[in-house]
Every structure is written in C-alpha cells, then in structure tokens.
Amino acid sequence: MAPDVTTGALGGSLQRFLRWDVLVGVLLVFVFAGGLTGSPQFGNIDNLSFALGDLGEIALIALAMTLLVVAAEVDLSVASVLGLSSALVGNLWDAGWAIETIIPLVVVVGALCGLVNGLLVTRLGLPSLAVTIGTMALYRGLAYVVLGDRAVAGFPQQFTDLAVNDVPGTFIPYPVMLFVALAAVTGVVLHATGFGRSLFAIGAQVEAAHFAGIRVKRIKLILFVVASVVAAFAGVIYTFRYGSARADNGSGLEMAVIAAVLLGGVDFDGGKGTLGGVIAGVLLIGLLRNLLMLNDVSTEIQSIVTGLLLVISVITPRLVAAVRQRRRTPTLTTQPTPEG
C-alpha cells in the first residue's frame, strides 16, 4: 500500500518556483520595474491605461486560444476573423444599419467562421495548423470583398467611448474589464471543471480521452467556434477603439496571441499549461510592445521582438527538458520510461 512519503519541502517549493509560468510572472515584474526606471512616461497612469487598452483584443483572443492549444489545436485565422468582423461593421454601418443589429450579426458570422474551421478539423481530420492557415487567407480575403480598400469611420460616440474609456474611478478600460471577467470564467473552466479536465486529457492523450467517453470532436468544435466568436467580438472593439473599420485591421495579431499563450507556458503539443501563465504572458507582451512604442521603435522591430519571443518560448522548455534528460538526476520523476 501507499507509503506516504513526502519529499523534502525545499525540493518541492524549489520545483514549483522553477515552473515556467511562475518564471514568466517574475520576468513580468522585472520588465515592469525596468520600464519604470528606464522611461519617464511609462509609469504614467494614462500610459498604463493606454497600454492595457491596446492589449485588449490580444488578451481576449488569448483566452480562447489557450483552450485550443491545451487541447493540442491552434487557430491561426483569429486575426482574419477580427478583420472580417471589422469590415462587416464598416460596410453595414455605411449601409445605414444600427450598431445594435450589427454586433449580433457579426458575432454570428464569427461563429460560422469557427464552425468551418472546426468542421474541417474534426470531420475531415485535417491538422488545424493547415486548416487555419487556409482560412486565415480566406477570411482576410472575404474582409476585402466586404469593404475593399475603404476605411469607414464616424461611429456613434457612445460606442467608441465604451471601447476607449476607463471604468469610472479606475484606470482600467472597459474592454480590459471584460477581459478580467472572461479570464476569471476561463480560469475556472480550464482548471476546475470537467470540461477543463477533458481538454487536458484530449491534449495529452487523445485516444485515452476518447476511450474515457469524452466527446473529443464535439469539444474541439466548440473550441473553434468560441475562438472565432471571441475574435469577431474583438473585431468590434478594435473598430470602435480606432474609430475606423478596415479590412486589414489586426493583421498579424494572431502571432502576438500565440506568442502570449506559448510564453505563458502552454505546451504547443497540448496537455499542459495554466491560465495564470497565459495572463502573465499577455501582460509581458503588452508591456514590451508599449516600451518599444514609447522608445519609438519601428513596427518592424516590434514584430521581430514578438517573433523572437515566440521562438524562445517554444525552444526554451525543450532545451530545459533535453538538459534534464542528459543529466538524469535521481530527483527527476516525470521522465517517461520506455516500458513503465
């Protein structure tokens, strides 16, 4: 029976400390402190509020992306869905529709986009990386069909205000409040519900999940729909925040989202990750973007930085694992064994 031996407390807490998501949290604090000392405008409440707001869409989409990546899928088409949504908002507003009708319609279109992604992946068994590269181009193309090269502006102030203003008495913009609420929900779903347990099982060992009665296909379909719905709604926020609807809105945003998720310690192969880590990853990306912007670094460099972060966050855990494997210290207990 179980000899309930507890490992040394020190070893335990040391290992917890070395968890990737905690490290990212620490890094976040350092970057923040560095920003405060390095740049006079950085600590300014207005700037922080702006930085948070500027992060809103990435943050929102990252929540849904986390669920997908934990289940070993990915959606590269989110930024195109955002663009399509923005183009639709512009086109319909131009055509005289009321914003109150446009928003639900755009969300439904988002759901359809997600349905297409999800059905291609679950019914045809195609890899989501390939499927969503395709639909990334497709949805962006549709955005141009809808709005062409035009930019539509002049949205009602009550809506643009909602997208940029802070919740009264705080420096937190409304979209960020929405993020906080959704993050809380996502955290509970991922870490405390049966649905979340199912996602981790699917990502780690899909066959075992299937054998345990988990509806793998249905769950994946739901995740793709959720991701696109969130992206479509983020498109509405984006449009109002900039006060301008364009077909190329948010292009390249998917990279920042995925970088944030991987930086947050979610394993691209699925089955591992925490929402806390992702939030730290999102904030880190946001701070870095803001710092680069304050220092007038060009968007090309910003994109390079995002790319580097992405590569680093994919490579580092693997390097660490490889080094550990090499050393094969006796305290290493999670090593998979060839036979068991």
């Binding site: 179980a2 309930d4 519900t193 347990r197 075992a208 009665g213 036979e339 068991g340």
Partner: protein, 504 residues
C-alpha cells in the same frame, strides 16, 4: 544444474550491490545479480519490486546511485543505452518501438545499413542478411515487408533479430510474453532456447510463473527493491517462488464463486464490422463472467471496442439492460452502465503524463461535480478508495502514472473503470502485467462484483485465467464466433481446439 553454468568463466554481465532511488522511492536496494553465458535467468517479484528498474540499470538507461556493473568480470559504466548495445547487451520490451514505415530489414539495420558504392544503401545485402538472421532464429518473416501491421509477437522477433545482428551476448526481456497468445509464446521460447544454447545469457521477466519454470535455469527474486534470493529453478515449486516474492503463502488461484445468472444485461445481436468481425451474437447475464477466447488477432478486442462505441459497427445491434445503444458513442455506452478496460493501457487506458487521481477521475467527471466545478476532495477520495482496494503501490496520488511500474499502471486503469460502478464490464486482458498476488486479488474482486450482479465480458489470452474465471467461454476465430463452451466442458484442449479451428 545447481552449478552456475559456464564453469569458471566470470558472469557475462553482473550487478554488484546496486541501489537506485527516485526521489523518496527506493527502487533498488543493494541488489546483486549474475548472468552467465548459456543460462536463462528469471527475475521475479511483485509489481513495483524493481525489476524494470534493474533492467534499465543493466542497459544504461539509468545509472546506479551506488554499486557497480561488471562486464566479463570487469567494472564498466554504461552512460547510455547505446553503450550497453555496443557492449552486446540487448533489451526486448513488451511493446517494441519500430519505425512503421520502414521495412523489417531496415528496422533491423537502422543506422547500420550495409552500403554499396557511393554510400548508397545496399538493399539486396540488407534483405539477404535479414533473411539469414530469421533462418537462424527459425522464423518465417519477410524482410521486405513494412513493419506496420506486424503483430507484437512478430515485432519482438524482429527486435531479437536486431540483437543478433549486433552480436548481442546478453538478451534481456522485460515481460515479453504479456501481450502474446499461447502459440506465440511457444515460438518465442523456441527462439530464446536456441539462442541460449548458442551461448547467449538471457534475463527473463514474467508474471506467469509457468513460463519461468519452462524457460529458466535460475531465478532471482526481488521484494520491495531488495534482493531475496538467487537459486536454481529445478526443485522449486510455484509456492516456493510465490513465497519468495510475497513473503508469505498465498493462493495463486481464485476460482469464481458460483452465481445464479440474472436477467440479460448485455445483448449483442449479429454485430458486424466489415473486414474485422462478422455476425457476432451473444448475451451476458447479470452475475455472469463470460470469457471471449481466441488467438491474438481473432477480433476479440475489436468486438469489445465496437460494443463500447469507440469504433463503429456496420450492422447488428447492442442492447444494455434491454435498451439499444447508439453506434459509436462511448459516452452513451457509459451512461448505459457499460465500462471498457482497454487492452493498450499506455495509449487507450491512461493519460500517461497525468496524475493517478486525474486518471481515475477522468471517467467520473459528472459525479465529481459540486455545482459547476470538480471537487478535488471527491476526486482524491475516489482515487484513494480504489488505490487501496487494488493495493496500488504509489508514492502520492498526485504523481504522474508514468512513474508507476507496469503492473501498477494496470491497476490504475482498473480503478478508473471500476469506480464508475458499471453494470456491464468489458475487460480486455484484465491482469496483463499484474503479479500473482494481485491477480488473485483482481479475480476475487471480479468474482465478488459478479456476485453482486455485475455482468462481465472478459477477453484474456491467459488460459488458466479463462478457465478459472469464466462461467462460459465464447471462442472467436478469424472474426467469427465459432464455439460456446460451458464451464464444465471448458478445458485447455477444448478451447484451443475451437480457437485454432481444429474439430473438437
């Protein structure tokens, strides 16, 4: 045969005073072992006794914390599995890992293919040499056939051929027979006996004691990581060996209690899956244990998978307690009270990187809910309950199942499904890799559950298990149900005759 074979020659490979710990778990404690040329040496012990760990120390996967390895009497250190291979030490695992898209010959010579001019791979020479190896082993395998689709038994033979091609002097086999049927075991043993006579040293692990007595000359027993004895097999009885392993006397066989079968719980009617199995009909009543026997590949597991809904069926129907099941829905099958303990625990049974409690909880996500969220306490209680009932050997319930020994992983799979309190249990190789003591325990548990009204459909390649446990034996052959044998008439001969298609 009481003298170590080999006379004065030092052991080919030996361990001296080896210890190995994983965190708080002492897997090996001051263990010594000597393997001589020309002898087959058994390693016996309960689940978690440290057998696989010992194998991994011998083959360079782990390095001992203390103690040494001796090769031909000289101290050596293996820093990697490659070192051990180069020293002539080969391992065959229960489930070999092959490159499915490469041919059999390519798998044998991977990385060392014979070269022709311009460093091109010389396929002719490679196939010729592979054919030679198979001839030496006395097996009929085609070197040009792709490895995909080989049975586990054939894959093991390919691994042995690979070992031979590297001039292995020590052949280590960790539970090679757990996934084999009777005829395949016989074939494997013939090969191993021939190798032994050619001067190979063999280390053999199995939980089937008969096999140890058939194949081996000496046996070393481990208990909780400690060396208990190394002694000749001749003159020992099963009970002697069990006593060494467990430390006390034990009834290895637990025959099923007689029960009066109740209503029909599972009714399978003319079930067909094209090209896999055809027109399979049978019933299992409450309180009954029905065995599905047959050769490996007869389609037994496939029938089980279709009933449970992980595969779809093309024709026929399945009823649980009189209600029809929809095709291809494990979820519906589970709500109807069906459970399936699948044959492949690493892929189908467990999420290897997740904890014991998560794995056991995975089948009960609905029951563990308190409001919308999972109650960790309930999850833990459920896991602890079953860990205790199944005598699971573990450190913490939050440990990943991939650090458990093979037999203990199997217990987690059992707990995962028994904890759903099913009305119909389909169990594919229930005691694969489980030690004698626990096997009796599992049999007792199944028997008790049947007495409480559980209907059990058991697939097993272990004939004594089938004969001891089953009220009825259904025999499948090439995808068809060919015989139904009542308990009284079920003998090793009658079941094998039906399974191989010889008229009984």
């Amino acid at each position: 045969m009481t003298e170590p074979p080999g006379g004065d020659a030092p052991p080919v490979l030996a361990l001296r005073g080896v210890s190995k710990a994983f965190g708080a778990v002492q897997a090996l404690r001051d263990v010594s072992l000597e393997l001589f040329a020309g002898e087959a040496h058994a390693l016996a012990g309960e689940n978690g006794a440290g057998k696989s760990t010992l194998v991994k120390t011998l083959t360079g996967v782990y390095r001992p914390d203390t103690g040494q390895l001796l090769l031909d009497g000289e101290p050596v250190e293996f820093h990697s599995p490659a070192d051990a291979q180069n020293a002539g030490v080969a391992v065959i695992y229960q489930e070999p890992t092959m490159f499915p898209d490469l041919s059999v010959a390519e798998n044998i010579f991977i990385g060392r293919q014979p070269r022709a001019a311009l460093r091109r791979i010389d396929r002719g020479a490679m196939h010729g040499r592979a054919a030679e190896l198979f001839k030496r082993l006395g097996v009929a395998l085609d070197p040009e056939q792709p490895a995909r689709g080989l049975s586990i038994a054939d894959q093991q033979l390919v691994e042995i051929a690979k070992a031979l091609s590297r001039d292995a002097r020590v052949l280590i086999m960790d539970e090679p027979t757990a996934a084999l049927s009777g005829a395949e075991v016989t074939r494997l043993f013939n090969v191993v006996k021939a190798l032994r006579e050619q001067g190979c040293a063999v280390l053999f692990i199995s939980h089937r004691l008969d096999e140890i007595f058939e194949l081996c000359q000496r046996v070393t027993t481990l208990r909780d990581g400690t060396w208990i004895a190394s002694e000749p097999v001749a003159g020992m009885t099963h009970d002697d060996l069990i006593r060494r392993m467990v430390g006390r006397d034990l009834d290895a066989l637990y025959p099923k209690l007689d029960t009066v079968p109740g209503e029909v719980a599972l009714k399978v009617h003319r079930l067909t899956r094209e090209g896999v199995f055809t027109d399979v009909s049978f019933e299992v009543r409450r309180g009954e244990i029905v065995a599905l026997a047959g050769l490996v590949g007869a389609g037994r597991s496939e029938v089980a998978r279709a009933i449970f809904g992980v595969d779809r069926w093309d024709a026929g129907s399945v009823e649980v307690n009189g209600r029809g099941l929809p095709a291809a829905s494990p979820t519906a099958a589970m709500s109807a009270g069906l459970a399936l303990v699948p044959e492949d625990r690493r892929q189908q049974g467990l999420v290897m990187e997740q904890s014991i409690e998560r794995n056991i909880g995975l089948t009960g996500l609905k029951n563990l809910r308190r409001g919308p969220v999972i109650s960790r306490a309930a999850e833990r209680d459920r896991a602890r309950d079953w860990a205790i009932r199944l005598q699971l050997k573990f450190n913490r319930l939050s440990d990943a199942v991939n650090v458990l020994s093979g037999g203990n992983q199997q217990k987690v799979v059992l707990g995962k499904w028994l904890s759903t309190r099913p009305g119909v249990l389909i169990i594919d190789e229930p005691t694969r890799g489980i030690d004698v003591g626990t096997k009796a325990e599992v049999h007792r548990l199944l028997s008790e559950l049947a007495a409480d009204g559980l209907a059990v459909l058991m697939i097993s390649s272990d004939l004594p298990e089938v004969l001891g446990m089953a009220d009825r034996v259904l025999v499948m052959q090439e995808g068809r149900l060919v015989a139904e044998i009542p308990r009284d008439a079920a003998t090793e001969e009658s079941v094998m005759a039906a399974a191989t298609g010889r008229a009984s």
